[in-house]
C-alpha cells in the first residue's frame, strides 16, 4: 500500500469536501490507512466476523463522508476524525448486533455512556436507513439505466457524450432513454 503523505484530519476533511474525485479518493485511502484497523478490531472483538468488519468499515466511511458534507462533523469541534469514526462504528455495529439479538450487557452499558463524539451520530444513522432503502430501489433499475444515470452524475458527461459512449443513435435518443429511466426510478421510490 502506498503511504499517503498528508493524512491529517484537516486534509481528510478537505479531500471529502473537494469537488475533485482524486482528492476524495485520497481522503478515503487515508481513512483506510490510518483509522480502519481499530474499527475492524472493535467489530471482531464484539461478536463480529472479518466479513462483518469489512462491511462495517464501508458503512462507517460512507457515513463519515456524509457527516462531513452535511457539516454534522467539523474538524474544529474538538473531536478527532478517529474518535468520530469510532463512534459511528460502535453505534452502527451495536444497532446491527441488537437486530441480531446478540448484544451483551457490557456493550449496552457502553452504548448508553458514550462520549461527546456521539452527538449527531444517531441522527446520521437514521438518515442512513432511509437512504439505504432508496439505494436498494435504485439497485433494482436495469444496468443500462444505472449506467446512464450514474455516468452523468459521476463523470459529468453531457448527453451527447453519453450517447456516443453507450452507442445511442444520437443525443435525443439518449435524452429519451434517460427520461424513461428517471420515470422508472421515481416509480420505484414511491412510498
Amino acid at each position: 500500500m502506498n503511504q499517503i503523505s498528508d493524512c491529517t484530519d484537516e486534509a481528510i476533511v478537505n479531500g471529502i469536501l473537494s469537488d475533485d474525485r482524486k482528492a476524495l479518493n485520497t481522503a478515503i485511502r487515508c481513512l483506510y490507512d490510518r483509522h480502519t484497523a481499530l474499527l475492524k478490531d472493535y467489530v471482531r472483538r464484539n461478536s463480529g466476523s472479518s466479513q462483518d468488519a469489512d462491511d462495517v468499515i464501508q458503512v462507517v466511511i460512507l457515513n463519515f463522508i456524509k457527516a462531513v458534507r452535511s457539516e454534522q462533523y467539523r474538524p474544529l469541534q474538538g473531536v478527532g476524525v478517529g474518535a468520530f469514526l469510532n463512534t459511528i462504528c460502535k453505534r452502527h455495529w451495536l444497532n446491527a448486533l441488537s437486530q441480531r439479538e446478540r448484544v451483551t450487557l457490557r456493550e449496552t452499558e457502553y452504548y448508553e455512556t458514550d462520549d461527546q463524539a456521539s452527538e449527531g451520530v444517531d441522527e446520521l444513522l437514521e438518515q442512513r436507513e432511509e437512504m439505504e432503502h432508496y439505494l436498494r430501489q435504485f439497485d433494482r433499475l436495469g444496468e443500462r439505466c444505472k449506467q446512464i444515470l450514474t455516468a452523468q452524475r459521476r463523470d459529468g458527461l453531457s448527453m451527447k457524450e453519453i450517447a456516443d459512449l453507450m452507442g445511442f443513435e444520437n443525443e435525443r435518443v439518449a435524452i429519451n432513454e434517460k427520461f424513461k429511466c428517471i420515470q422508472k426510478l421515481k416509480n420505484l421510490l414511491k412510498p
Binding site: V79, N86, T150
Partner: protein, 250 residues
C-alpha cells in the same frame, strides 16, 4: 424558454440543478417554478434522485477502494515483506480515551517475519549446499605448496595424473577422473598430494554416483589426524549434504 416535451423538460431540470443554466436561464427557470407548483415538486424529487445517485456512486467508489486495499493487505500477508503500520495517533482531544478502549489486537508480526526470514535463509543455504559444485581443483600453485625438489615437478607421472584428474573433474567427467586420483593415492609423493587426491577422489565418487565409496573416503578424511590438504568447511558441508541427498534419491 421552457421546453415543450417531457424528456426535454426533464433535461432542463437537471441542467438547472447542475448549475449549468446561464444567469438569465436560471432566472427564467425560477420564475416558472414560482408559478408552477408541479415544477417545484418535480425539482424536489429530482434533488432526491440526485442524492440517491450520488450516494450510489460514492458507495461504489468506497467499495472499489476497499477491494483494492484488501487485495494489497492480502498481498502483504502472503509475502510477509512488510508490516502495515498501526495508526499513530496525535494527541487529539477526545481520541485518546477511545484509542485506549479500542486497543488494537493486531499483534506485531515480528515473529512471523523472523520465522519466514529464517525459513528463506535456510532454504537458500540448503539450495547452496545442494546445487553449488564442490571445489574440484587445487587452487594452490605448485610452487606455493612448497615444492622444491625436481621430482615434484608436474611432469612426473603422479603429477600428471593429479592434474588430469582435476581436469576431468572440472569438466564434469568424474568417471574419468577417478582412475587418475587412484593412481596418485598409490604414488610415492608428498602427503599433500596424496591427501588432496583422496579428497578429489571422494568428490569424483560422489559425482559419479558411488556414494558408498565417497562416504567411506569422507569418513577417512574426517578421521585423519594429520590431513594435509586444506578442505574448506563449506566444501565438507556440501559433500555431506549432497551425499545425504544422493542417498535419499537413490
Amino acid at each position: 424558454m421552457r421546453p415543450n416535451t417531457p424528456p426535454e423538460e426533464s433535461e432542463w431540470i437537471d441542467t438547472y440543478l447542475n448549475n449549468q443554466l446561464t444567469a438569465s436561464g436560471k432566472l427564467e427557470f425560477e420564475a416558472e417554478m414560482a408559478c408552477d407548483p408541479a415544477l417545484q415538486t418535480e425539482v424536489d424529487i429530482r434533488r432526491l434522485l440526485h442524492d440517491v445517485i450520488d450516494e450510489y456512486n460514492l458507495q461504489a467508489e468506497i467499495a472499489a477502494i476497499h477491494a483494492e486495499m484488501m487485495e494489497e493487505e492480502e498481498e502483504v500477508q502472503l509475502t510477509e515483506t512488510r508490516v502495515i503500520p498501526m495508526p499513530v495517533s496525535r494527541p487529539v482531544p477526545g481520541e485518546h480515551s477511545l484509542r485506549e478502549q479500542l486497543l488494537p489486537v493486531e499483534r506485531p508480526l515480528w515473529w512471523k517475519r523472523a520465522a519466514s526470514i529464517a525459513a528463506a535463509a535456510g532454504g537458500i543455504w540448503m539450495g547452496y549446499l545442494s546445487f553449488t559444485p564442490i571445489t574440484s581443483h587445487d587452487g594452490v600453485s605448485h610452487i606455493m605448496r612448497g615444492a622444491k625438489a625436481k621430482q615434484e615437478q608436474p611432469s612426473s607421472f603422479c603429477y600428471d595424473n593429479y592434474y588430469l584428474g582435476q581436469e576431468h573433474l572440472s569438466n564434469k567427467r568424474p568417471g574419468e577422473a577417478i582412475p587418475h586420483f587412484e593412481q596418485v593415492t598409490d604414488c610415492e609423493v608428498r602427503p599433500y598430494f596424496k591427501d588432496a587426491s583422496k579428497w578429489f577422489l571422494a568428490v569424483a565418487c560422489l559425482q559419479a554416483g558411488q556414494t558408498d565409496r565417497a562416504t567411506t573416503l569422507l569418513n577417512e578424511i574426517r578421521q585423519a589426524a594429520d590431513f594435509q590438504y586444506p578442505v574448506t568447511t563449506v566444501d565438507l558441508w556440501k559433500m555431506e549434504w549432497q551425499l545425504r541427498l544422493a542417498r535419499l534419491t537413490h
